[in-house]
């Protein structure tokens, strides 16, 4: 790197830093959301959801998978990443299998999981996943490989329309990194960084890899339209709204003291490498992070990550009425044929939203178990589910659940 380049880089970093300050300033005046998990209400599914649809995903030899680790929804497709089989499966919206992108053994040379996560360019109809630091493999929506690209190193990427990309640089333990990242997030257009946010020293990190509880989860969650994505991070009770031009600390969560970490838990250097032990010994009841944040209309849905949040960890919150409903306390009923609304044992939160529905999934083992329990009710299942129960088995693929929340949750409680 010659002197000019160094000078240019320094200038760019300075500009990015100023932008981050500006962006931060733009975030003043965020919305405070008070959440007491113990006070969350519940209700019958029919009281809370306007519509509940079950979409069995076709099970055949090529399409068999275990669980949904990432779900992305386009106008006509469900794109599903399953780490169990290291593949991205493509299903039509009616559940018919459409194609598959297999990570193969090569991807596992880069990471034990193979494909860690994928990102989608909806405009171009492209599915991309990263191999290692710079390789990007690009497939079309039929699952066919189109090309390879190279990009700057980043763990997670989100693509907005018009090729505006936001990168997630967070790599907490990388002291030997030669690149000088000073922020968690950076925005690029045509390969050039034009803004960044959230100061973070990669050379002198305060959070060790062992401190971080959800290393493989995506930090970006769908905002319900093409230009908004939400960002969350560990030990921080703020949800940030990211768009091609803006960065806003949109929602600040407040929990009762017994659920809260000390304010400096994230930033204190002395806690480096000790956070897991501290959580276990002193803060076992505390919320570690807010994950799976999704928004449909005026309803947000989020999950709380913590050592004791085994159940009762996912909530719907109406921004207008401030009503808090625990997903765990929503009871299936006649409206959804007494079928489960979410995974039982391994439920970690809502998968995503398409701006209209929240999406969860249920394993076929749970579906058939419910059918067995329901046998005394003499139910008549709706068409697709009836066919699924008649022709399928507990070894079939998971079933996608579309949940359309009632627009005004005030009435439901």
């Amino acid at each position: 790197m010659n002197g000019k380049e160094k000078q240019l880089k320094k200038t760019l970093l300075l500009v990015a830093f100023c932008f981050s300050l500006m962006l931060k300033t733009a975030g003043q005046g965020n919305l405070r959301i008070r959440v007491n998990p113990d006070d969350a209400t519940g209700g019958a599914a029919s009281e809370i959801f306007e519509e509940i649809n079950y979409i069995p995903l076709e099970t055949k030899k090529a399409s068999v998978f275990g669980k949904i680790d990432q779900l992305f929804i386009t106008d006509s497709l469900f794109l599903i990443l399953d780490h169990d089989i290291n593949a991205i499966l493509i299903f039509n919206k009616n559940g018919r299998f459409h194609g598959k992108i297999e990570g193969g053994s090569e991807s596992k040379t880069y990471h034990p999981l193979g494909i860690q996560a994928f990102f989608v360019d909806k405009e171009k109809g492209e599915i991309k996943y990263k191999l290692g630091e710079t390789r990007v493999i690009v497939h079309n929506f039929n699952g066919e490989k189109i090309r390879e690209e190279t990009t700057i190193r980043s763990k997670h990427v989100y693509i907005f329309p018009n090729d505006e990309i936001v990168f997630f640089y967070y790599n907490s333990n990388d002291k030997n990194n030669q690149e000088e990242f000073n922020n968690e997030l950076a925005w690029q257009r045509n390969g050039h960084t034009y803004q960044s946010a959230l100061t973070y020293s990669i050379k002198n990190p305060v959070i060790a890899t062992s401190d971080w509880m959800f290393k493989n989860g995506t930090p970006f969650y769908e905002g319900g339209n093409d230009t908004i994505v939400f960002y969350s991070r560990p030990f921080d009770y703020t949800i940030y709204q990211v768009s091609p031009k803006t960065f806003i600390d949109k929602y600040s969560f407040l929990f009762p003291a017994s659920f809260s970490l000390p304010p400096d838990f994230r930033t204190k250097q002395e806690y480096y490498g000790k956070r897991f032990s501290l959580l276990r010994e002193k803060y076992s009841k505390s919320v570690i992070a807010i994950t799976n944040f999704n928004k449909v209309g005026e309803t947000i849905c989020f999950s709380l990550l913590g050592l004791t949040f085994n159940k009762n960890n996912t909530f719907f919150y109406n921004l207008e009425s401030s009503k808090l409903i625990s997903f765990d306390h929503i009871t299936p009923g006649a409206a959804n044929s007494f079928l489960p609304l979410k995974a039982g044992f391994a439920f970690t939160g809502i998968h995503t939203t398409d701006g209209r529905y929240f999406y969860s999934s249920v394993s076929s083992a749970d579906m058939f178990n419910a059918k067995s329990i329901n046998s005394r009710r003499k139910l008549k299942y709706p068409g697709a589910i009836n066919t699924y129960f008649n022709k399928g088995s507990k070894n079939d693929n998971p079933v996608i659940v579309q949940l359309k929340i009632k627009s005004n949750m005030k009435k439901c409680v």
Partner: protein, 932 residues
Amino acid sequence: MRVVGAIILTFGLIPWSAYSQKDSTWTGAVYGIAFDSAHNYILGNATAAIYRVDSSILINYQLTNNYGEFQFERLPVGISLKIVLSYVGYKDISIPFTLSKEVKKIDFGKVNLRQKDNELEEVKVVYKPPVRMNKDTLEFNADAFDEDENAVVEDLLKKLPGVIVWGDGSITVNGKEVKSLLVNGKPFFGGSTRVAIQNIPKDAVEKVQVYQQGQSDIGTRDSTTEVNIMLKEDKDTGYFGKLAAGQGNDNRYEQLAGLNWFSRKTQLGVIASRNNTNRITGNAVTLLENNTFKGGTDMDYQPQFNLPGINKIIEGGLIFQRDFIEKTDFYNINRLYGNYFLSHNNKAIDRSSETFTAISNDENIVTNSTYSNKSTFRKHRFDSKYETKKNRSLFSLNVSSLFDHLLERTSSSNVTYDTFKTIQSTSELSNNGVYNNNLLLLNSSYEQELNNIGSSQNLKLRLNYSGMLNRIDERRIASSEFNSFTIPSMSQVINRNYNNDRKDFENSFVAGLDNLARLKIIGGKSLILGIEAAVLTTNNKIDNKVYDTSIIADNNKLNPFLTYKARYQNISVSPALILSNSISKTLSNRYERGFTTSLNIKGQFYSQEVNSTQDVQNSRIRYYKFIPEALFRYINYRFGEFKDVYSVKFRQHSIFPNAVQLLLIADSADIYRVRAGNPNLRPSDVREMSIEVSHTTFRNRNQLSYSANFQLGSTRNYIGDSSIIYKNGQTNYYYVNLPGHRFLNAGFTLDKSYKIKEQTLQIMVSANGSVALVPGVLNSMFYRSNVYQHVSDVKIYYYPASFLGITVGHNWVSYKMRQNGSSLDFKSIIHNSNLNIYSALTPRLTLNNHISFVHNRFTGGKATYNIWNASASYRLLKNKNAEIKFSAFDLLKENSNISYHNTNTSLSTIYNNVLQQYFMLTFSYFPRKFGR
């Protein structure tokens, strides 16, 4: 760790009847939903219980299902009842109702429960819910279950839904075996389930908790089921014990005294037993297990009628446990455990035997012997263990010591005949000696996870040290008079005085680093690298002084051949490189299949040196051995259905000759078995392959598990015997290296259990067999024998009702040896069938019958006898603290113990004096207090 998420114990909507007097008039039903109207949600896993209003008797109860629903059927009509709903953190609600002939069904709809305003709010507890889910723990409330006032925890467990106490003492909860039973979170008196559940009164129990404890098992989502007995706060200190004395005819007696005290942090138990009825346990915990308040139906604690001789036994022990932290859990332990045991046996054996020995194809000899032995054997054993677990590190220290003292006087007369019944030799032998053996063992291990990548991938340091200090001294006088008629030159009269001392000192140190590095190989796969080093040193010092004595001359002369000082030292260093690779394929909610390969590239540097005052013993040898191991394991785990494990292991290792095999100098005073060591012995190299298969079901009912294993191998330089058998019965043995040793071992176990209503049936089968080609040299001729051995055991436990237990067992042992190229063919088969019937005729009167049918068949004869023991016991006093018991043993008076002993060239038929019919009256008192 406790499994996060739902406990896989599905109890919802299974009504558990607590009242057995249902009849056809019980036709009522009630339904409803437990509901929190303030928060607008249903309450799943809430407890619904139905009681009679007049007597508060619990009639039925259940946990609500995922929809909050409860549903009771077959309820009494025309009786005032009440339903009580309860849920953790909520106030109970009680609704009275009466079902009538006109209104047989009531739907309560949504029954609203209200949260307690705060955690400190005291609510008057009227009805304790019989069962409740408290987070991931299923809790049974002991007070809700009506039992006899003297009931123990075992009686309570048998009443709990989903819990089965099986005939062999194991416990399952919804089909999952309980791996550990704790009392207030701690092991109880040595961790024995039986000591805990058959002594602790049901009234001392607050609740029984059932939960899942996680377990790392190459990444499978296995977990184990644990049961914790929580004692009531005022009952967590107490004592229990047993005092018993019995007197029988023929001067038979048995006495026992035991007292065990426990508090929140400390447990101390003392127990002692004295008898001449061949009841031997060998350790304090077994002694405790066989003398519980409840008493057992077990057929294993019968007098040992096949034990040779008359045994006067004293056993006693002490158990101590101290927890330095009051509330221990999976992550935090700081515990000291001590166990002392004394056994003392005065034995008198009178034995006659006939030994058939083959010399060649057409020549054999028969030796008839009478043998008498009077001995006193005293053994002290002390074991202690300290363990501490905190912050991903585990340290444990074990110290054990053993003091054995044997005083023995033996004498024998022997006559040997040839094939034509001509006397070849006679002998008179005697041996009077004192033997002492003092042993000190120390074992310490330390494990530390050095990072936190993930539980199975963490870099882990392992250190283990064990040391052994052993001292043996032997003081004995042996005399032998041997008259050889065909070879007169071998006739001899020998009197010897032995003063032999031996000191052994062994050290073993093992250090290992697991998950040291990941090595990338082709195709994106990686190998996990670990290293290990083991160092073993052995130091034996032998100081033998043997005097030839002459009664006539009254002088002692040092025997220059048998007297020597020797030092045997060896050091073994084994560095190893461990490469492993695991490939697993998981399909969530369906299966997990994993293939593990592990290659242990291991070498062994072995150095051995003998320095002796007998030149012939001196040697110095060094070896380098390549002793690799390879393991292939495949696991197929179907969630909620079964787990199959298949493994194949290849192993090559060496067995080095020990000090005795190298140094032993032939002592002609032994007459019939003159054995000599061989300083030129080389190590045996064993190559073996083992295959193991196991299957375990995870069904809620009628589980099945089986396993099979095979071991196939060969030994190069097998250390065997070269023997010369003389017609006069004398045999000289010499250790030699021999070629051509092969072996095949196979084992099989099966465990199948059924639960049909209140009846339990458990079938346990085990079978082990081996075929070996064993080389030997007989009279300078090399031979190989085919040796077949087999042991199989079947036990069936059938409990048709709580007052009746039937156990049937069959044990089958067979042995067959055929020498290749000769007509030698030895066979022995023993069948031993047992039937045990336990019946509690009334709550106080118990009958026990135990019958053994023994059928022995062997080359040249057979023997059949049956032993029938019966007892009747009656519990006295209000608390059943006293027991009077009448027992009759060997009612048929048929015990005539015959046993067999084989070598590769001989078969002995042995008749011992044994315990025979006797009757005994025993009085027992059980002092016990649970509570301050």
